[in-house]
């Protein structure tokens, strides 16, 4: 994991954000976050301020609310949260503490990717230092009525546990399976209490926003996608690693920066993203154009697209929680179809059935995993029809 651009997060003054937040009242903090235009960095891009507002407003019989940091980072090709966790974990803890103050929660949990277990000791050490410094625990920064603490929960090693409701089930000690929504976690989350689940990067930007002001943040990016974004860029490029760009950067610019100009395709959004052809390289990374949680996978000219998508579908066949029919069986059928395509044994009628199935999975799966697992396959068939269809035997 090499850092390839200067990182704004590296220059954020420690705990300035928390101090600024505590100088406001809770609704004032929510308003500041809303003003910044920050949208969730975990992929779905839900406005963070609005999420907090809902969590703060939702009734809780005993007053309990939770702040959860989603540090499950399981999307293949994504490693930008790992950078934050290892380089600037205090920003993340600071952001969570601000969230606790804003929504009225006293408990924060970091759901840490199983493979990141090696970081626990260092993270615990930071938490202890924060407690000693009066930045966590009771009476934060000398304010008697502000209490918040954080503990770390090691994830179960399943990709689907990064989905926020599966994550919550897993925290409750159950099988990590996504829930039906509504109700959403902001209303009924961990143990049925109002809960905000946010990505690692989201919390880190929170600390920066409160410290430097909403205006600073919203001046960066595009009309509907504010601020800088960390991107994990991998695949057939000369310089893979973590990059920071303002939202609005084009794919061509990314390829130039990484030395991947020869790409024949780029998958934006990781295994659950979209496979774009060169004609789309002028498009921008932004929620209103090509959205991503941060993973960009570049595909060089000599690679077989079917190999790539086969790999991806194998991942989903294993990582589906197995709960709902479209995803559990649908992924298997698409994978079978890809294998048949590779052997030249998938007729164009079958391919049509499979793309129809992919559409069904997108609209009828229970959670984001099944809703997005056919994305790469579908976008490949639609954007690279010739390359795929050449492999299908002419129908009888």
């Amino acid at each position: 994991m090499t850092v390839r651009t200067p990182m704004t997060l590296a220059s954020i003054e420690a705990d300035a954000g928390l101090k600024a937040a505590l100088a406001l009242d809770a609704p004032g903090v929510v308003a500041e976050v809303k003003d910044s235009g920050l949208k969730g960095r975990g992929g779905a891009g839900f406005p963070t301020g609005l999420k907090w507002e809902l969590a703060a407003a939702a009734p809780s019989s005993d007053g309990k609310r939770y702040v959860i940091c989603n540090a499950d980072e399981g999307e293949p090709g994504t490693f930008k949260d790992r950078l934050i966790l290892s380089e600037w974990p205090d920003l993340l803890f600071e952001g969570m503490t601000i969230a606790g103050y804003a929504i009225g929660a006293q408990e924060g949990i970091v759901y840490l990717r199983h493979e990141y277990a090696y970081m626990i000791e260092a993270l615990e050490g930071r938490l202890e230092r924060r407690r000693k410094a009066g930045l966590l625990g009771d009476g934060i920064l000398g304010k008697k009525d502000v209490s918040f603490d954080i503990h770390i929960h090691l994830g179960s090693g399943a990709y689907v546990c990064g989905e926020e409701t599966a994550l919550i089930e897993s925290l409750e000690g159950k099988r990590g399976e996504p829930r039906n929504r509504p109700p959403f976690p902001v209303v009924s989350g961990l143990f049925g209490k109002p809960t905000t689940v946010n990505n690692v990067e989201t919390f880190a930007w929170i600390a920066a926003i409160l410290g430097k002001g909403a205006k600073w943040f919203s001046a960066i990016g595009t009309e509907r996608s504010k601020g800088p974004k960390l991107l994990s860029i991998s695949g057939d490029v000369e310089r893979p690693g973590v990059y920071e760009f303002p939202f609005g950067v084009t794919i061509a610019e990314l390829l130039k920066a990484t030395g991947g100009e020869k790409a024949k395709a780029v998958i934006v959004g990781g295994a659950s993203g979209h496979c774009l052809p060169p004609s789309d390289f002028s498009r921008a990374i932004a929620f209103e154009d090509v959205a991503t949680g941060g993973a960009v996978i570049v595909i060089g000219p000599n690679r077989d697209l079917l190999d790539v998508v086969e790999n991806i579908m194998e991942f989903f066949v294993d990582e589906s929680c197995g709960q709902c029919i479209p995803c559990r069986i649908g992924n298997v059928k698409i994978l079978e179809g890809i294998k048949a395509l590779k052997k030249g044994e998938c007729s164009s009628e079958q391919l049509l059935d499979l793309t129809g199935l992919g559409d069904t999975m997108q609209v009828s799966s229970k959670c984001g995993l099944g809703q997005s697992s056919p994305n790469v396959f579908l976008s490949m068939v639609r954007n690279f029809g010739h390359e795929i269809l050449d492999r299908a035997p002419a129908s009888a």
């Binding site: 039906n180 989903f316 294993d318 929680c321 129809g356 199935l357 609209v363 009828s364 229970k366």
Partner: protein, 629 residues
């Protein structure tokens, strides 16, 4: 089953039809209220929704994706559409995907003609298997136990069984194993169901939409016995099947078939048709006596070796449940065998002798609403007659199958009565089939034996209404007046008088479905109000035996209510026809004590034949009973 429905309402439109429902109602329920049917597979009215099959998806205005209507609670005014091109495609795809994983032949399937997957495949025009189909079995059929068969090649993973076992029954014998494409429904450690804490209640079978779960089928063995001229094949029939079996012949739930069934069973080839209610009455005499004795020993003599509250013991699912989950309370169980087993023991002793038949030539069959009864017949404790007390317990579904196989249409059969020497039982025996029935029957008898007055003086028509109904747990107090009666002759050797009961408050409770049993047991453990009860009726199945795991499929609260109405109706009719309604007024039962059980209720003979003891089993994995190992 909707969990949080408020008193506020919301008006929505479903396919342009306006409908007003309480907030929190699911789209599915709202649509059904509007008269629009939405196909479902994982939804079941008795269970919390899982939203996993995705058959019930609909368009909700403002939502990008389709939504599972069963799991979408309505809180705001929205427009819902139940038919659109992508809904049509999604439902068809989901069905095709399920069919692609399905291995089994409808022609030989126990659910042929009553299978929700088969019905939907037909309804949604699945005319070929677009995504291929399985050409060989990939899992091994689990038929190692006496009650339940699992064929996971027919499982569509709707998780109804998992939810039934965990939520309705509070057991959790079935769960989800594995992940991704290898996910399957199975048991703890993936071992046979009979090796874990499953109580054989069969509630999962009744809610399985396909043939993946079924009951062990003993009909071929019974046909073989019927065809064997050296065998005397008798059948006893429990009260609950009569209220349900008509459903197998297209009748409305709650159409009683008692007398028609007697004729059909004789035509099919049974030599005698007996009424299990006879032994239900006998159970009441024995269990009621045991209760009074226990109370006398505990409250007067200070002998706590047989503790109070006394628990009923006629539901074999409940028995296995307590053996697994609360073995420390086994001494609270009544030592009475269930009516099925009491009858079995009498047939191969009393009946055999009276009719000069060698008991080894008797094949004793029972018609039960229950799959756990199959297990019960195999318990090593149930051989006190010197033989298996009961050879085969058949479910309502199996008997319906035999009657159909014989070419008979049950509703067309002429009516006929039960065979002697056991005759027709009392109305108290009949109500054993409903939750609260054993309690009501016992109270009718105990009250009369103790007070020397008619129950009718306390409860109109002798209907002890407070113990009736479908409330999961019911608690009732009955005030005993200051005036008690003399000890009746039949109990004279056991207690000197009833003075110690004067003015006492008799506290009783009823629980049905083992999740409700768990609530009561936990309360008892915590020293709550149920620990102060004197007598508690427990039935493993929701609704009692009428909702048993061997009853016709489907089931729902409305169906169980209709069956209950049939059962209470029959009890009331007994009164109108001048038949006995109380167990101790059943003439053949009282005659049995004169002729055979000559040392009276809970005497030595009855103890040997009609009473038993139970075993501590492991919490998760079934350990063998003392006699088995």
């Amino acid at each position: 089953m909707t969990t949080e429905v408020s008193t506020e309402t919301v008006t929505v439109t479903v396919d342009d039809i306006e409908v007003t429902v309480p907030k929190g109602t699911s789209i599915l329920e709202a649509a059904r209220k509007a008269g629009i049917d939405i196909p479902t597979l994982c939804h079941h009215p008795d269970l919390p929704d899982a939203g996993v099959c995705r058959m019930c998806v609909v368009e909700v205005d403002g939502q990008r994706n389709l939504q599972a209507s069963c799991a979408f609670p309505l809180t705001d005014k929205v427009e819902i559409t139940t038919h659109s091109p992508r809904i049509h495609q999604a439902r068809r795809d989901v069905l095709d995907l399920m069919l692609s994983e399905h291995y089994g032949s409808c022609r030989t399937c126990v659910r042929n003609g009553n299978c929700e997957l088969q019905d939907l495949a037909a309804q949604y025009g699945c005319d070929y298997v677009r995504f291929g189909h399985k050409t060989k079995a990939t899992s091994c059929i689990d038929n190692l136990g006496p009650s339940i068969v699992r064929d996971m090649d027919k499982c569509i993973q709707c998780l109804r069984c998992v939810r039934t076992c965990a939520e309705l029954q509070g057991i959790g014998a079935l769960g989800v194993l594995g992940r991704g494409s290898t996910t399957e429904v199975g048991t703890y450690l993936d071992i046979a169901l009979s090796e874990v804490n499953c109580i054989n209640c069969g509630q999962c079978i009744n809610r399985c939409p396909t043939g993946a779960l079924s009951a062990v089928d003993n009909t071929d063995l019974v046909w073989a016995a019927i065809k064997d001229p050296t065998k005397h094949v008798v059948i006893q029939t429990a009260p609950a099947p009569r209220a349900g079996i008509g459903e197998e012949f297209g009748l409305k739930p709650g159409t009683p078939m008692t007398w028609q069934m007697n004729t059909a069973l004789r035509r099919v080839g049974f030599d005698k048709v007996f009424d299990t209610n006879f032994s239900a009455d006998l159970t009441i005499i024995e269990e009621g006596t045991e209760l009074l004795l226990r109370l006398y020993k505990n409250l007067v003599l200070g002998d706590t070796s047989q503790p109070v509250p006394q628990f009923t013991s006629c539901s074999p699912g409940w028995i296995k449940y307590i053996e697994h989950q609360y073995p420390e309370y086994l001494p609270n169980l009544s030592t009475c065998k269930s009516p099925q087993q009491m009858f079995g023991a009498l047939i191969k002793t009393f009946y055999a002798k009276k009719n000069n038949i060698d008991p080894k030539d008797i094949v004793s069959v029972s018609l039960m609403p229950c799959t756990a009864k199959k297990f019960e017949t195999t318990r090593p404790e149930m051989t006190d007659s010197g033989f298996a007390d009961v050879d085969f317990a058949l479910t309502s579904r199996e008997i319906a199958k035999m009657i159909k196989e014989y070419g008979l249409d049950l509703p067309d059969m002429p009516k006929s009565d039960f065979d002697d020497p056991f005759g027709t039982a009392s109305g108290s025996g009949v109500i054993f089939g409903a939750t609260g029935g054993v309690m009501e029957a016992a109270l009718r008898t105990v009250v009369e034996l103790v007070l020397g007055i008619k129950v009718e003086d306390l409860f109109e028509h002798a209907d002890i209404v407070p113990v009736r109904g479908f409330e999961g747990v019911r608690y009732v107090e009955i005030q005993i007046p200051d005036k008690v009666g003399p000890v009746p002759a039949i109990l004279a050797d056991l207690v000197p008088d009833w003075n110690w009961l004067k003015g006492a408050t008799l506290k009783v409770a009823v629980a049905h479905g083992t999740a409700n049993a768990e609530k009561v047991m936990e309360d008892i453990k915590a020293g709550g109000k149920f620990s102060e009860c004197h007598f508690i009726e427990f039935m493993a199945c929701p609704g009692g035996c009428l909702g048993g795991g061997g009853q016709p499929i489907p089931t729902s609260e409305a169906i169980r209510q209709a069956r209950a109405n049939a059962i209470y109706g029959e009890d009331a009719a007994y009164g109108e026809e001048g038949r006995a309604r109380k167990s101790h007024e059943n003439p053949p039962v009282m005659k049995l004590y004169e002729e055979f059980l000559t040392d009276g209720p809970c005497g030595h003979i009855s103890h040997h034949l009609l009473h038993t003891e139970y075993t501590n089993r492991g919490t998760f994995i079934a350990t063998k009973t003392k006699k088995e190992s």
